[in-house]
């Protein structure tokens, strides 16, 4: 039961008083009518009777007003009861003799309203209280209702027809009551069937009440039809009693009725039972004769039951197919050796396969409902807490891209952990991230093997080198002659020993190097490198060797930035140059070239040596594969150099190959991919902070230029090349605004606007026309057209128009950049745009304050070196104007902040004080992003840095 404790005493006592009034009134009425109709003691109790409907009606309304849950059904019930009271008043006042009442009377209308409202209330209760409210319930109610009505008609129509003289209005009115009862009863039977026979206390109570109501209504109709009914019997006490009981049910706490696992069979049994009723009635009709109404209803029951059964069988087949499919999927997931975990958009686990449970030590099913990161990933391998913001799985939910890691650990239920490799893939539906699937495997064994191998490598390295050190040292001293001269033959022998010791050392170095590369023990240290710079350094290192061999090094290197481990690329270059020098005849030239290409940097080293036979072009990159087996002795190679080169290049995601014309020379080339640039940003991705814009244009150049500008700005961009595509994708992806060209192939721009306007899902999306056609002011405002921009459009105009069309976005971060140097401002703006942060640049103090008023930024990044205003002053101004809340300001300076400045900062003006020269744009950006990541309502702690 709901408690009244939280309400005011007036409310509490009013409700209690109504209950007491209802119960006492009912008791008085029952005592009064106990004697039967016409008992003088019951005279004058009509008004008490009316009051007995008003009281539960008011109680129902009070319940709906006071308790938030299921307001609608109880309002409807309450209103229905008041209608009943109204019907009784009309009945007593207007039709004092029942026989004088016309069909349908005003009382009938009010009574039937009560039934209508009750049906609506039951439906509303079902909608709120059933875990799954199915549309087929309607059909079930119709089948059941018809069957019950057919029975009622078989029993009632004859006497009613006899009493009312068979007028259509009379028959319809009198039949409406059992039909309504039947419908409600059928709905309740449906609830009973759906819940698998366990509908919960509230529904059971309502079911019993309605069953009694049907009994009362039938009894009344029987009596009325026979002309035996008169007010003032115990029958009359039944209705108010049921109203009070129904009200009592309303004060029960509702529980959600779970659908039973399989609703098909109970529903089938109910439907078939009704069909049998219909058949039985028709059979009875055949042998003994029934009235027409019952006949028709029985026939309709049979038809409806047939339709329902057919639907059920169709449902069953679909269900069976679906079940088989999902069983097959479940089997695949169950059999998978990898852990598979599904999460919702907030990172809560919705599914975990048995392997996931086994690896993490949880019972199957125990993982569902928990937060994935908090449960398995809460702590880093070193024991430090792992903030959710840093979690790659969480990142998938944020940025909608795939994240992978093999550096983390997962924590088991018993508190132990294991090394894990996982891939987190977002589930994207339309433009929204619905969740993620994380596939993981236990790699602790692999890590152990790696560690063992690393240890072995380290030990071998030490154990082999130690004796070699003594050997090489002794031989070297002997060879040098510092210990005294040696006979010529001995000198030669020592020389051979030294050369071969050196070769052995190189071999060990190369084997270990290759081993380390292949086992991933040594991770590549990626940094931005310049191709020309690397070539210059490698050439410089190789110059003595080349000069010694009489070989010229010719360099043609173009600067090209890319991410790589500079030492390793240098190693590759020196190795290839060394090879080229080794195989070049004296006086020859080795060409070293680098070239920036669209997705990679190409390095080529060409020699004019003896060349490589075609069948060896590939095998030379294998271990101990040389063109001539005598090469290692003659040229001093180990046979591992090219294998190391290939391993290094492939670790960078590149490719290495050789081309050669035997006798004329060879060219070794390799490519290393460049950093993905703005082209990758261009992919539609969810989460553009400023909103999503669809650009529909058949001109690729415009799509690219405008698209890039909008992505940079922080919009999510959807591209469409035809009107048809625009309409389809607008329906599916629901952009915030559509930029539309009017001249399109196929469906024209105007037709597209019409098509967008016809579809309910797109008619509200504002359209900005972007066309070479001159602006037609009269078109603006027609349909969804909010603006018209002539091509070529200035980006500023475009942005302004889009901002007007979409309106201010509360969820987008806005940064006001105060910077005089346009180059620096542009860098900052691009950095922010990449993270969907909108930024506006101001170049001086007055403009800053004006822009602040306009945009109300979340952060100000200010150059301290402005002529008329600086970060400290901005903050002072803001304080003066009462705006100094949580707004963080980052002030940075071109020169070191002076002590005096420090003092000013310490007063509390500036959140972060940064120095330009000592910080990369990336670091400034990182600091700014950290500030933005803080909750916007708290004041960030003060921090000063010089």
């Amino acid at each position: 039961m709901f408690s009244l404790a939280s309400f005011s005493p007036v409310v509490r006592w009013s409700v209690r008083l109504l209950w007491v009034a209802g119960v006492v009134g009912l008791a008085v009425f029952v005592t009064a009518v106990a004697g039967g109709p016409g008992d003088p003691s019951s005279d004058g109790y009509e008004w008490l009777f009316v009051a007995l409907f008003i009281v539960p009606g008011l109680l129902c309304l009070a319940r709906a007003r006071l308790i938030a849950q299921q307001r609608l059904p109880w309002t409807l019930f309450g209103a229905g009861m008041l209608c009943w009271a109204g019907a009784e008043i009309v009945y007593f006042v207007v039709y004092q003799d029942q026989r004088a009442a016309p069909y349908p009377s005003a009382s009938d209308a009010l009574w039937l309203t009560y039934y209508g409202l009750s049906i609506a209330a039951v439906l509303a209760l079902m909608k709120a209280g059933l875990a799954r409210f199915r549309k087929s319930l309607w059909i079930d109610a119709v089948v059941g209702g018809l069957a019950i009505a057919a029975i009622a008609a078989a029993l009632l129509v004859q006497p009613i027809l006899a009493s009312t003289g068979a007028s259509l209005a009379a028959v319809t009115t009198n039949l409406a009551y059992p039909l309504m009862d039947a419908l409600i009863l059928a709905l309740l039977i449906g609830v009973f069937a759906i819940s698998g026979g366990r509908p919960g206390r509230l529904w059971t109570l309502i079911g019993v009440i309605w069953l009694l109501q049907v009994v009362l209504d039938t009894a009344y109709l029987y009596q009325a039809a026979a002309g035996d009914y008169a007010f003032g019997t115990l029958l009359d006490a039944g209705w108010p009693a049921l109203m009070l009981l129904l009200t009592f049910a309303g004060w029960h706490k509702p529980s959600i009725v779970k659908s039973s696992r399989d609703q098909t069979w109970p529903m089938l049994v109910v439907t078939i039972s009704f069909a049998i009723v219909g058949l039985a009635l028709l059979a009875y009709d055949h042998w003994r004769g029934l009235n027409d109404v019952a006949e028709v209803l029985a026939g309709m029951t049979l038809v409806a039951a047939f339709v329902r059964t057919t639907m059920t069988f169709a449902d069953m087949r679909t269900l069976a197919n679906g079940r088989e499919l999902s069983m097959r999927h479940a089997l695949i997931l169950d059999a998978a050796g990898e852990g598979v975990v599904g999460t919702d958009a907030r990172g809560t686990i919705t599914f975990a396969n048995p392997a996931a449970a086994r690896m993490t030590g949880y019972e199957p099913g125990q993982l569902a409902g928990r937060d994935l990161h908090e449960t398995l990933h809460h702590t880093k391998p070193d024991g430090a807490p792992y903030p959710t913001q840093e979690c790659p799985m969480h990142a998938s939910l944020q940025d909608g891209t795939i994240h992978h890691s093999d550096q983390d650990v997962y924590w088991r239920e018993d508190g132990t952990c294991f090394g894990v490799e996982y891939t987190s893939t977002p589930i994207i539906e339309g433009a929204r991230i619905r969740g993620a699937v994380v596939v993981f495997r236990d790699i602790s064994e692999r890590r152990q093997v790696e560690r063992a191998k690393e240890e072995f490598t380290s030990v071998v390295s030490h154990e082999l080198r130690t004796p070699l050190t003594s050997i090489r040292g002794s031989l070297g001293l002997l060879e040098s002659g510092v210990l005294g001269p040696l006979p010529d033959a001995a000198q030669r022998m020592i020389q051979i020993a030294v050369q071969n010791t050196d070769r052995l050392v190189r071999l060990i170095n190369d084997i270990l190097d290759l081993e380390r590369l292949d086992s991933d023990v040594e991770h590549l240290r990626d940094a931005t490198c310049d191709a020309a710079d690397l070539i210059a350094r490698a050439t410089e290192a190789m110059l003595p060797t080349a000069t010694g061999a009489g070989v010229t090094l010719a360099v043609d290197a173009a600067p090209a930035a890319f991410e790589a481990d500079a030492d390793r690329i240098m190693q590759t270059l020196t190795n290839l140059i060394s090879n080229a020098v080794k195989f070049s005849p004296p006086g020859a030239t080795v060409q070293i070239i680098s070239e920036r290409r669209s997705d990679d940097v190409l390095f080529s080293i060409s020699d004019s040596g003896r060349g490589i036979p075609p069948d060896k072009l590939e095998t030379i990159f294998g271990r101990f594969q040389q063109v001539d087996s005598s090469d290692s002795r003659q040229r001093g190679g180990t046979g591992l150099g090219l294998a190391i080169c290939r391993s290094i290049v492939e670790h960078h995601g590149g490719r290495i190959w050789a081309r050669s014309t035997p006798g004329e020379g060879s060219t070794f080339s390799f490519v290393v991919p460049t950093t993905p640039d703005a082209g990758d940003e261009y992919r539609p991705r969810p989460g553009g902070k400023l909103g999503s814009v669809m650009i529909c244009d058949d001109n690729e150049a415009i799509l690219e230029v405008t698209g890039t500008a909008l992505v940079e700005r922080g919009y999510h961009v959807i591209l469409a090349r035809t009107g048809e595509e625009a309409v389809d994708r607008a329906i599916a992806e629901q952009p915030d605004v559509i930029l539309l060209d009017l001249v399109l192939p196929g469906m024209s721009g105007v037709q597209t606007i019409v098509a967008l306007g016809e579809h309910a899902a797109t008619q509200k999306i504002p359209i900005v026309v972007l066309s070479v056609l001159p602006r037609a002011d009269e078109e603006i405002g027609r349909g969804a057209i909010v603006d018209w921009i002539e091509k070529p459009a200035a980006t500023a105009n475009l942005f302004a128009s889009l901002e007007r069309a979409i309106g201010p976005r509360d969820d987008a971060f806005r940064v006001l950049v105060v910077e005089r140097d346009p180059a620096v401002a542009e860098i900052l703006r691009a950095l922010f745009a990449r993270h969907g942060v909108m930024s506006v640049v101001s170049t001086d103090g007055p403009q800053t304050l004006e822009l602040y008023e306009q945009m109300r930024p979340d952060l100000i990044v200010a150059d301290n070196d402005l002529p008329d205003v600086d970060g400290v002053e901005i903050k002072a101004w803001l304080r003066l104007h009462g705006q100094l809340g949580a707004l963080p300001i980052v002030a940075y300076d071109a020169c070191d902040v002076q002590a005096a400045e420090h003092d000013r900062c310490a007063v509390g003006a500036v959140t972060q004080m940064l120095t330009k020269g000592q910080m990369t744009p990336a670091e400034l950006h990182w600091r700014v992003m950290t500030l933005l990541a803080r909750p916007r309502t708290t004041t960030p702690p003060r921090e000063a840095r010089s």
Binding site: S458, S461, H462, R465, T466, P467, L468, T469, S470, I471, R472, G473, S474, G476, L477, S480, V482, L483, T501, V505, N509, L512, D513, R516, E522, D567
Partner: protein, 129 residues
């Protein structure tokens, strides 16, 4: 700076002998030799060499640990230390460089250029403020 006196620390007697011979014969330096970290520390305190050539992998007190002890002691903290290692991998070299040693040399070394290499490292050390 050309050191006159160098302390050589290696647990391998052969290497001590070869290296000592190389430094004496080629460089003309005075060489003291220690076979483990603890005696190296004692000798460094007692003899105050101009530089220490310290093997990395030694039983008990290894090279980096010995270096740390030497750094803690004000009597020896100013003596430049060069690590001598059989581990030639980039990652190891970077780790050693972070310890604050004057330099790292790899084994096997060329006895004819060992003194030159040491002198180069120490010269670089001297010119770096």
């Amino acid at each position: 700076m050309r050191p006159k006196h160098i302390l050589l620390v290696d647990d391998e007697e052969d290497i001590r002998e070869v290296a000592a011979l190389s430094l004496q014969a080629v460089g003309g330096w005075r060489v003291s030799a220690a076979g483990d970290g603890s005696s190296a520390i004692a000798m460094a305190r007692a003899e105050r060499p101009d530089a220490i050539l310290l093997d990395v992998m030694m039983p008990d007190l290894d090279g980096p640990a010995t270096f740390a002890r030497l750094q803690e002691d004000p009597q020896t903290s100013d003596i430049p230390v060069i690590l001598l290692t059989a581990k030639a991998q980039g990652a190891d070299r970077r780790r050693f460089a972070q310890l604050g040693v004057a330099g790292t040399l790899t084994k096997p070394f060329d006895p004819m250029t060992l003194t030159e290499q040491i002198a180069t490292i120490l010269g670089r050390e001297e010119t770096t403020p």
